[in-house]
Symmetry: C2
Subunit: 187 residues, 2 copies
């Protein structure tokens, strides 16, 4: 039931917005009582926090599995992280929408738990680029912090336009992104 | 006064949110009456539309001036568009925030006015890339629609992290972005 409440709420928060969705809306959609809701969550805010935490923990775990895989070089790891993010939209698109859009509805205590994890995801990419420079796979003349943000811009923005049912697949999009990133557009 | 109402509202919408800001909040902050507000705008929604329209019209005009400048090649035009977007954050950061975040609060009629302009901005970049391919400046093996979205991802995402008072200037960031885009990261 906890998972059902979470899924239904992601649906409602993504379509109506967090503030516009009441606990009553959530329990009505599931045909359960408010008592059931409060058995699992102390408040709507705590539920939002739970959704955020699950989303970012899942991404971090997948990212760390890619990074520690010793059979890949840095470029391959970068490709796999980009692909993981784009692929994830199909499964987790609504969670992502809620994550990016409703972050500001978390209170200070909850932000203190989420922000360092979000930062860790970014820092892991930057470290990967730094390692790529050491391995002579990645050019060394660009600041890796800004490059990291350019990569995250490409991938995060795709949550707002990528349609898994559209003409280009998650693999197509990831391959274009990684070619732009690694090889560049110039002839 | 119209411009003052617009500026004050951008400030309030960006910090408190559109739904959370009342017309009373706006007129209180300016020390004027509601009558003054209704002299210039028919509703809060129409004011939001006005802010959106001014924001996108201004960007489109600047973009079109760059594109029609015959003294630049395609790569230079691309650099100038990226720089224009990053530079704009210093001046128009709050408008951008309101634009991206509050778009969903526009009604259907208003969206019909805004969405084609937003699309035009994207299509202009795609056309520039297509022209770059014709001029043999840009590689021809990548779909320019997806490449365009990767460029817009980089630049649009920077509204959420770029700090004009920070360590890297608008010029620094634009130069890193354009080097990643044109030359790529690989050694």
């Amino acid at each position: 039931m906890k998972e059902k409440i979470r899924e239904q709420s992601i649906q409602l928060f993504a379509t109506k917005g967090f503030k516009e969705t009441s606990i009553q809306d959530i329990v009505d959609a599931l045909n359960v009582t408010k008592g059931t809701f409060y058995y699992y969550f102390t408040s709507k805010e705590q539920l939002l926090m739970d959704i955020h935490l699950q989303y970012i923990d899942d991404l971090l775990e997948k990212q760390e599995n890619i990074i520690k895989n010793e059979s890949m070089n840095c470029k391959d790891k970068l490709y796999n992280i980009v692909y993981m993010l784009i692929h994830d939209i199909e499964k987790e698109g609504l969670s992502a929408k809620v994550f990016f859009r409703e972050m500001r509805n978390l209170n200070e205590d909850h932000l203190t738990l989420i922000v360092p994890k979000r930062d860790q995801f970014r820092i892991n990419i930057q470290k990967l680029l730094d390692e790529g420079i050491e391995q002579n796979e990645i050019r060394s003349d660009l600041p890796t912090d800004i490059v990291t943000l350019s990569i995250l811009g490409m991938t995060n923005w795709s949550y707002f336009w990528f349609d898994p049912q559209g003409r280009a697949s998650d693999k197509d999009v990831s391959e274009v992104f990684i070619k732009v990133l690694l090889e560049g557009l110039a002839v």
